[in-house]
Amino acid sequence: MSEPKRKFQPDPLAAVLGFLLPGAGHLYQRRYFKGVLYLVCILGTFLYGMRLGEWKVVYFRWDQPHRTYGYLLQSLVGLPALPAYFQSKRYEFVNHQRPVDDAEKWHEISEPLSAPFTGRIRLQRENGNEFLGAVSGQLTLQPVAGDLGQQAARGSFTGTIDGKQQELKLADPLLIGPERFASEDVAPRELLDNGRRHEFSNDRRYLKCHIVTGGDQPQSIGVLEGTIPRKFFDWFQVPVEAEGLQDLHSRLGKQFEVALVYTWIAGLLNILAMWDAYEGPAYGYGDEEQDDEDESPDDSAGETAAANETASGTNESSAPTAQAATSPSSSPGLET
């Protein structure tokens, strides 16, 4: 090929680069074919596994009995898996006030919220009729001090309701999904639309609050229930809780297990790639055996072929010796 033969010496930097991103060590060494091969194969396997598992197979939890030992293999893929470790810390930090695996919604917000809302509305009109239907628009909420010292929320919703653009005032009681969550049940609880009892989502966040009249003594005139978006880094590789895992297993079945296997194998394969970046290929360039094969086209028969097989893979432990005997020039650290 066009890539010139190189001298293989231990290269720790390439190994580290290979750990951070599969194939990066080889690209750094200008071994482009293998760099691209490792990148496509290992990263592709990892991402495909994540896709199979709906992007919820890579996360880190170290609390009993939910320890994700598989993450130790997944982490060998490097940067694509490392966010899971930091996400577990962020998750613990944000959710430390509630027990792990408590899928209950929150009743308050700690900072102002402004997001596009999609869901349903039940609104009591001035003429006494009630409107119930789908709605979407912009929602804003601010935390405020309640009458009894507790935290409350006030805000507004602007959207098209029954064909007319309206602005509604919002107030407690508020029910909202956790800020950082991997798989939340966002199915409506009060304003049922399709009768589904559970509907899990990673990038949507459940929200329900009351619509109130204006003035000093606001009164409830309706309910707004639906979802707002959850930021990518608030669900990506965040630990999946028991309820979400149960949903994944029940819906995906064996596919979830296959997804895990894909990501584990990607990590294991990157060990081979890292070692190759560090010290070069195990059996050298491979053209040494090519010479032998030229003499014996059918390398599945004959003594030459038997020697080839010994030197090229059927017995790994004896391979370096065989290679050293037949091709000292291709050993790591020697110039060819």
């Binding site: 090929m1 490792y38 290992i42 194998i265 394969l269 790639a273 059996y283 050298g284």
Partner: protein
Amino acid sequence: MWPLLAAGTNITWHLVPLAIVISLVYNASRYELPERIVRRAARLFILIMLGMGAVFSVLMVLSFAL
């Protein structure tokens, strides 16, 4: 690979791309020459598929009429 994600696809088919990837990466870590890597990977892939096919056949026979 993406057609494998279609609903109703047998989960066993997911082993094929996995075998391809393992064959390629394993042989890439053994050799340096691209043509050598590809040839060896093709051979290993066939071996893996034959091995899995054999196991599959044995299991199928053992589970016959169960």
